[in-house]
């Protein structure tokens, strides 16, 4: 066991997979000598050479599209987009193409690629360095969308993603990169795609969340625990396809659900969670499924005061829990 940060876990996962499998390579802006703007690939160019650590031109559509083409031919590219806000140029290739290639060739071609995206706010990123783009991808059949919150999950899920024979959108919350440390086992392990994790057990209500707000949710749960109220916290980890079983089982136990995410509320991942619960656990609910999420404004303003107004922090989650419990 070693203590490491999320960015270290990400780096370790890629390094080990590149050591293990010669078909794995990374491409993106500044991934070479610079080691990526967040240093996810620090040292890689020395270890694996320029051929497998490709500094690309500043062109996200090509990064994604070239990765798709290489993956179609059997390589396992890991493409990096520098910030979640710069991800829209890849939509044509990822949402329009990668997601449909297996289906559109009736299974003859697969796209075993990973698109890594540092995302999310509460880092003074302002309007164009704070985006949470997961819902766009989660609406797209054919994509697997992962949002790990801890170093353990980051490493294990990234390994699973690299080994998956289908495209993965891998979202790494920027604020967790250095702020979140945790234990990571020595040696090889994977965290299965599509399986949620109960990060805290409780019976009074269930929070369903992922990413940075998973940590804020745990903080809010601690506050209520001090009052003897035990909240269950489910970390989705994979936001598409959603792990219905884990979610529904918890709902049947606690009968109250708060969905929490940083992305804006309208058609955020929480909408699908709420709709699924409505469909499959209607009879188990003692209160409406409530949502605490970013407001429906473009994420997220730069000034610290404005950013704080946007961000679903522990106190807002706590307030949401109290509303839910009082219903």
């Amino acid at each position: 066991m070693a203590m490491m940060t999320v960015i270290e876990a990400v780096r370790e996962a890629m390094r080990e997979e590149m050591q293990r499998d010669a078909s794995v390579f990374v491409l993106g802006e500044d991934v070479g000598r610079r080691g990526g703007v967040f240093l996810a690939t620090q040292g890689f160019i020395d270890e694996f050479g320029e051929e497998r650590v490709i500094d690309t031109p500043l062109a996200e559509a090509a990064i994604a599209g070239v990765a798709v083409g290489a993956a179609m031919s059997g390589m396992r590219p890991i493409a990096e987009v520098q910030f979640g806000d710069f991800v829209f140029p890849v939509f044509n290739q990822i949402v329009g193409e990668a997601a449909r290639i297996r289906y559109g060739t009736k299974g003859k071609i697969s796209v075993p690629m990973v698109l890594r995206i540092p995302y999310g706010g509460h880092i003074r990123g302002g309007l164009f360095h704070s985006q949470s783009p997961e819902a766009y991808f989660a609406h797209t059949p054919g994509l697997q969308v992962l949002c790990p919150a801890t170093p353990y999950d980051a490493k294990g899920l990234l390994k699973a993603a690299i080994r998956s024979n289908d495209p993965v959108v891998f979202l790494e919350h920027k604020r967790t990169y250095r702020a979140v440390r945790g234990e990571v086992p020595d040696g090889d392990y994977v965290v299965p795609i599509g399986v949620a994790d109960i990060k805290r057990y409780g019976d009074a209500a269930t929070i369903i969340t992922y990413g940075l707000t998973m940590h804020y949710s745990l903080q809010a749960a601690e506050v209520l625990a001090a009052e003897g109220i035990e909240i269950e916290v489910i970390d989705l980890r994979t936001v598409s396809p959603i792990d219905r079983d884990t979610v529904l089982e918890s709902v049947r136990k606690t009968n109250r659900v708060l969905v929490v995410h940083e992305d804006n509320i309208a058609l955020g991942v929480g909408a699908e969670v709420s709709a699924l619960i409505a469909e499959h656990a209607f009879g188990n609910l003692d209160a409406p499924v409530m949502r605490v999420a970013g407001p429906d404004i473009p994420a997220m303003p730069f000034a610290p005061t404005l950013e704080a107004a946007y961000m679903p922090t522990a106190d807002k989650i706590e307030a949401g829990l109290r509303r839910l419990l009082e219903y």
Partner: protein, 335 residues
């Protein structure tokens, strides 16, 4: 004609020209049949290759003769490439009729879309130009693995306006990847004429801005097209990076069977273009070289018609695909 048969480009023999002509006859016959089947309400959508055949076939022959291995990323108008690569007329028609057994996508996609890996053809998408980065990625993978594949990326003139083409060409040139970008310039993107698409006469003028070689030749001339493609394929095969080959062709029919070109294109312009018909030009060339007679030509056409008739019958007799697997192949495992 730009060349006579004494002076053919390296790698191209007179027999190749005879073979190409025979293929061209077959493909034209097939293309005409498909169009007719659309008008009969049997084929939902058709984009005709008529006028592009010389360019397409020359490129395939150049790939065969000048690379150890190659792969084609085609677009919807590349019927001559797919057939030359081995898609049979029956398989082709199963696609146009969306029937069970269609080999590219299982009739999930428009005709000519999907993949026939054993025949080295991929045409995933109807979204114009999305395949150009794929072709570059395929070439990158080949280079990384050390295999000798040259990748041909086919597109129309209209496609070159897309940002992804710019990004992909630049990317390929920076990494010196074995790609030949083949632009079939028929001077129209649906109804939009070339001068409204770009402020240049030659699309190959873009190549210099990427540090690659670009050339424009008459794409209705098999020999000129072959020569230009062969040079580009050799450059790619020798590790000298990508090239842009612009083949000036003609589109004889509307953009697709859904289009009505009479509202935007003068009949006189099409009549003029017919004078460059690649089929007629190649036949005349072969005849003047003593390699083709009218009798042989009639034989070729009749044998083509018989082959297409049989394919038509087979395709019409086939059932539509069963809907049982409609949820399959979203992911490796059904979820």
């Amino acid at each position: 004609m730009t060349q006579n048969l004494e002076n053919l480009p390296k790698g191209l023999n007179p027999e190749d020209l005879v073979d190409i002509y025979a293929k061209m006859v077959l493909i034209r016959t097939l293309d005409e049949r498909i169009w007719a089947m659309n008008r009969q309400g049997k084929a939902a959508i058709v984009a005709s290759s008529q006028g592009h055949e010389a360019a397409q076939l020359a490129s395939v022959w150049a790939l065969r003769h000048h690379s150890e291995d190659y792969f084609c990323f085609t677009y919807y108008r590349d019927l001559a490439v797919t057939v030359a690569q081995g898609l049979t007329p029956t398989e082709t028609l199963l696609g146009f009729l969306a029937k069970e057994g269609e080999p590219m996508s299982g009739a999930r996609q428009f005709p000519q879309h999907g993949a026939i890996l054993d025949k080295k053809v991929i045409n995933i998408s109807n979204v114009v130009s999305t395949h150009i980065p794929h072709a570059v990625g395929w070439a990158l993978a080949a280079k990384m693995r050390g295999d000798k594949t040259v990748v041909a990326a086919y597109m129309g003139d209209g496609a070159t306006s897309q940002g992804e083409v710019h990004e992909a060409m630049n990317f390929a040139s920076v990494l010196k990847l074995p790609v030949v970008f083949i632009v079939e310039n028929n001077k129209y993107a649906i109804s939009v004429p070339q001068h409204k698409q770009m402020n240049v006469k030659q699309i190959s003028s873009r190549a210099a801005g990427y540090g690659m070689t670009g050339v424009t030749v008459d794409g209705t001339d098999v020999i000129a097209s072959y020569e230009a493609c062969a040079e580009a394929v050799e450059r790619a095969a020798r590790g000298k990076g990508p090239s842009l080959v612009e083949l000036e062709v003609e589109r004889y029919l509307p953009h697709t069977s859904d289009d009505d070109d009479s509202v935007y294109r003068a009949k006189a312009e099409i009549d003029e273009a017919r004078k460059r018909d690649p089929l007629v030009k190649l036949k005349d060339l072969l005849a003047s070289a003593g390699l083709m007679t009218d009798e042989r030509d009639v034989e070729l056409r009749e044998s083509a018609r018989r082959e297409i008739d049989a394919a038509t019958d087979a395709a019409e007799a086939a059932p539509f695909p069963s809907d049982r697997d409609v949820l399959e192949h979203v992911f490796e495992e059904v979820r």
